[in-house]
Assembly symmetry: C2
Homo-oligomer: 238 residues x 2
């Protein structure tokens, strides 16, 4: 959408509820629109006060009538979509998102039924936002380590117990990050860096380091097109 058209449609609207699903942020603009924001492979969405400092670099700025507002710096592949409310349910990129793992309705039972008896590999399945919305290649590393699962395990071979452990691992890792307000290289709305530092990682990005459980050297392997960091002893493939 051309910038003019975007600005024309947004100007004068009132920003209402802000929600999220997976990696998407939904801002309701009254009347009749939604602004959908996706930071892609990284970026900062930060607030500024009236007369306050703005970041050196940003690609998007939205100002409120009181002089405050926010900017967005996209680092790679981010996007903003402006969608009429009547088109929201069919919006190609967000209509088919799965549930957020930290959603109340994402129960152990829901997760077990979702897994079913598929042929897919567990990592590939969890990274697919249509299945579960919000897990990326950063958090998946420790999730699978905590669950004791190799990224290439076929879902149909998971035992009840393994599925339950996986559910718990997802909750543990993601809630820890929520608590710490995200990764070190991310900022929250008020510009504060996240507290989820390298020290938090158990195996992710720790190639050659000892496994925190068994001291085996952590390996980096290729799983499809993404990298995985695993303890070969704690996460065997059989």
């Amino acid at each position: 959408m051309p910038v003019d058209e975007f600005a024309g449609k947004v100007k004068g609207k009132i920003a209402k509820e802000v929600s999220s699903r997976g990696k998407w942020i939904f801002v309701r603009l009254e009347p009749a629109y939604f602004m959908l924001i996706n930071l892609g492979m990284g970026g900062d969405l930060v607030y500024f006060t009236q007369g306050g400092e703005l970041p050196e670099k940003y690609q998007f700025k939205l100002a409120f009538t009181d002089g405050s507002g926010f900017t967005i710096r996209f680092s790679w592949f981010g996007s903003i979509h402006l969608v009429h409310e009547k088109d929201l349910a069919e919006h190609r990129l967000t209509a088919h998102l799965g549930l957020s793992p930290i959603d109340d309705t994402f129960t152990p039972e829901y997760f077990k039924r979702l897994l079913g008896k598929r042929k897919a590999r567990i990592k590939s399945f969890l990274l697919n936002q249509k299945n579960v919305a919000g897990i990326g290649n950063v958090y998946i590393q420790d999730i699978l380590f905590v669950a004791g699962l190799h990224p290439d395990r076929e879902i149909s071979t998971l035992t009840e117990e393994e599925a339950a452990q996986l559910y718990d691992a997802i909750q543990t890792v993601l809630n820890r990050s929520v608590q710490l307000r995200g990764l070190e290289y991310e900022k929250d709305f008020y510009g504060r860096k996240g507290g989820y530092t390298m020290k938090e990682f158990l195996v992710g990005y720790k190639t050659g380091h000892p496994c925190p459980t068994c001291n085996t050297r952590i390996e980096r392997i290729k799983t499809g097109s993404t990298s995985s960091y695993i303890c070969p002893k704690c996460q065997p493939l059989e």
Copy 2:
């Protein structure tokens, strides 16, 4: 659909126009229905007169009020779908069929635009019924030979001339078959075998025979999951 339900819906209707698209036969049943027939990997759909002979073996029979009718013997993977006319446009298996190459609107210009600059291999593209409806693994053999193209040629590398030759080859081979009323092992509605015999094939199913153009031995190769018969000299891959 259970047999009873099928029979109940068909009984008393009037068979109107019969048409085809690719490998599908459409029979309009008045009022409000279409019977869609697909013979899959082979079968005979033959008429019988009142009091006339019926084939020894068949899986489907439809009788008209005058005592005539037709039977279908399916050899593999055939099917009949009964669809309400209001659902026809969304019917999963027929809604996305491409044009028949012998349709009037299948012009050289249409074909050239359809090919575009894709990465797909030419054989795989032509066998996909969403692109072009009606070419199977039998006729594709001589089509590609007549066009001088290797089945694995990338579409984006085709010259204007090669695309034009391919268009002509499709027309030549398919029209010849229409003229001869199909393959030797097929029957028309009146039970007559087709006249497109093995003698008509140039390279298809002729492994080891000399190429009709250059005498090179014809080879059988694997292309994806299908077999291809080619003259390695007339159909080089570069």
